[in-house]
Amino acid sequence: MRKGQHRFVAGFLFVPVALYLIFVIWPYIQTFGYSLTDWKGQSQTFKFVGLDNYKALFDDDVFMQAIWHNILFLIFIPAITILLALFFAFMLNAGGRSRAGGVSGVAGSSFYKIVYFFPQVLSLAIVAVLFNAVYRSDGGGLLNGVLIKLGLVDAQNPMEWLNEPKLVLWMLMIAVVWHGVGFYLVLFSAAMQSIPKDIYEAALIDGAGRNQSFFRITLPLLWESVQTAWVYLGIVAMDMFVLVSSMTQNMGAYGGGPDHKSDVMSTVMMRNFQYFGKSGYACAMGVVMLLLTLVLSVVMLRATRRDRVEF
């Protein structure tokens, strides 16, 4: 390297790292510090209480239940979203009847692509408003309205979609999947388009059907995109704050109802942080969330690791 270049490179390395340290790592350290105190959130006076907050966490049924809800989301949101996105992407790119010998998507696939992607341009807050209207608990809701017209639901006793302990998590999941599928569809489409057509054509000549070409060719060659999608969706599943806090029954504040059946870690944390004024305790929850997210990301990356296929 020429003289002066070192400094130039170092400058580029140093500034982002410093920013990262100050604005990301430092708050984490602070949060950890606060989690050892009885900080109440509205001033800088507090006492050191050691690990009391962490001990209390394990006796907190609400938080423990919230962890389970996150885990449930973690299992289903990525799985459903990726399966649907893969299916749609495959249909759009390679699912069509082979016309003129080539490999193509179903008829009108470029139009579908735009339609599918559309939910992704909406912010989660708007998705919440939309689905609140869909799930509305009286005859004015889209779902209830349709079901009442069809005679499947009693107008005097409409379904309270978000107020049913057994349904609420699934209702939230539908909204998230609806929001996410389009994006991953486009991601997978892009990856599929980079798969050389000759491979498919060769498979076609060998007599492979749709299923075989999907499982033998598309999926293995897409594996890295799927893996990326899995990690991103895992992070979505660990969060879920916006939808839960703006769609579900209030447990004081930040949703979580009915009876904490939809509470996730982030809503319990915020409720403790701001509404109950137990900010030190909430910081302990934040630390636990960070650890869980880290562990899960590592586990997921490891579990889905495979040899890379070159083409």
Binding site: K40, D138, Q249, A253
Partner: protein, 481 residues
């Protein structure tokens, strides 16, 4: 001793090494030290900060608010809007020459929590709404000014009287913590049921005074395809108003205080509590709720009620202003005290009444004198009348509205109801004192309304919430007599 260059000396630490090492050590220790010290004391250097601008004190200006100084006002822009405050601020500037920066917002916590933490709060805050910073939390952190000085100052309208003596009795209670008034709950609010005078006239119903009459109207309405009781299901706060009011009216003030004072028999073992919650459950069981009301937000259910889809709804007196745009012109909104169960200790006229919308002065405010004077003027007849005009509601000032002002029907009916109630008012304080307990009871009520638990289970869960709060070492205990 010896060389200062690292190359020559193998045994001792050279200057360069020393500098390197100490720099490395510094990198670690500086943040750690400041972090540790933040943990240890924090904010201790704020004590000297009270160099509040102070002018001469006069009769008209007892705190010496200084002309030309600035006031930082933050107003919750909710059901009452924030126009009233702009009118006040204009008047304040005209009369005292104090200009103000006005912030009208719904995000009280988001905007103010960082400022409180940094020790640079505004001068006066209307700390309300869904995102209010809980007053109990602020007080626990020692952020609030003791308002005694304002309350003991001479009243603007009659300097021979203290401000304190011009207020409706009991209205200072909700802002009182350990005997100190730290929040001025400015708006006189009544809670209970509401109905449409027009609908009642059409159907030939009379104001129900007993629970049986109430159920009879609901049943009659049901037959005609109208829901009986509506509530704002997504916020179980509202149905708790109905449940708790029934308990207080049945068992008297003692039943209410037992709950506020975290009595071990507040719910389980209290006949009044049992009767109250069973009465509400009867409405659920007989299918007299407005269909779907359990899952609706406050605006959704209130709007449905405005469309005559339900006869009654529970709410406080902000309802009329909140629903201004959706209420039909001839709706004739009317307030109704909670109807009575048999053998009630309080009369039908008794209402939950008191003050809401807490105004606070942070004790680290930059312009304390100006803030105090502003608050003193809020309790003048002139500003109180302005408020009634702009926000369609009453203030805690006794006869605080000029007789010339025409009130809307709902507000007018609350004036009559509070006259009829006289001293028979009550007010729960646990809602302000113990947020966590309140939230737990709300969760239980939601289960009750959805028929997932029975009254017995509700009592158990409510009692568990009380016991948990009583045992929580972190929460300050309050007591009322």
């Amino acid at each position: 001793m010896g060389s200062t260059s690292a190359e020559n000396d193998k045994g001792s630490v050279g200057r360069r090494d020393l500098i390197k090492r100490s720099a490395a050590l510094g990198l670690i220790t500086v943040p750690t030290m400041s972090f540790l010290s933040a943990c240890a004391s924090g904010g201790g250097d704020d004590d000297s900060g009270n160099d509040t601008p102070k002018g001469k004190t006069t009769k008209d200006n007892p705190f010496g608010a200084e002309k030309g100084s600035k006031l930082d006002v933050v107003i919750f822009k909710g059901g009452y809007g924030d126009n009233y405050a702009k009118v006040w601020e204009a008047d304040f500037q005209k009369k005292l020459g104090i200009t103000s920066s006005h912030t009208g917002t719904q995000e009280i916590t988001g905007k103010l929590q960082p400022r409180f933490n940094a020790g640079t709060p505004p001068d006066i805050v209307d700390d309300s709404g869904a995102q209010q910073i809980k007053v109990d939390v602020l007080n626990k952190n020692g952020q609030l000014l003791d308002l005694a000085e304002v309350l003991d100052a001479p009243s603007v309208d009659d300097p021979s009287k203290k401000v304190r003596d011009t207020l409706i009795p009991g209205t200072l209670d909700p802002g009182t913590f350990e005997g100190k008034v730290v929040a001025l709950n400015y708006i006189y609010t009544v809670w209970g049921l509401w109905y449409s005078g027009k609908l009642f006239k059409e159907k030939g119903w009379e104001e129900p005074k007993t629970w049986d009459d109430f159920l009879a109207i609901c049943t009659d309405a049901k037959k005609q395809g109208i829901g009986g009781l509506a509530h704002q299901g997504k916020y179980p706060y509202y149905i708790n108003v109905a449940i708790m009011d029934l308990i207080a009216k049945t068992g008297g003030l003692d039943a209410m205080k037992a709950i506020d004072n975290l009595d071990p028999k507040a719910f389980v073992g209290s006949d009044a509590a049992q009767a109250g919650v069973e009465a509400i459950y009867e409405v659920v069981e007989k299918g007299l709720l407005m269909p779907g009301t359990n899952g609706l937000t406050h605006t959704e259910s209130q709007t449905r009620w405005n469309q005559y889809k339900a006869v009654f709804i529970t709410s406080g007196s902000w309802l009329e202003n909140e629903q201004l745009k959706t209420t039909p012109a001839d709706f004739d909104m009317k307030f109704l005290p909670m109807p009575l169960l048999p053998d009630s200790k309080l009369p039908f006229e008794a209402i939950r009444a008191g003050a809401g919308e807490p105004f606070i002065i942070p004790n680290k405010a930059k312009n304390l004198a100006g803030a105090k004077e502003f608050m003193r003027r809020m309790l003048s007849k002139e500003w109180s009348t302005q408020f009634a005009k702009e926000a369609n509601s009453l203030t805690i000032l006794k006869d605080g509205v000029d007789s010339g002002v025409q009130l809307r029907p709902g507000t007018q009916s609350t004036v009559e109801a509070s006259k009829a109630a006289g001293d028979n008012t009550f007010r729960y304080l646990y809602v302000d004192w113990y947020s966590e307990m309140g939230a737990a009871i709300e969760a239980a009520s939601n289960e009750l309304m959805a028929k997932r638990i029975q009254p017995k289970e509700w009592l158990k869960r409510a009692q568990a919430a009380v016991d948990k709060q009583a045992k929580d070492p972190a929460s300050k205990k309050n007591h009322r007599d």
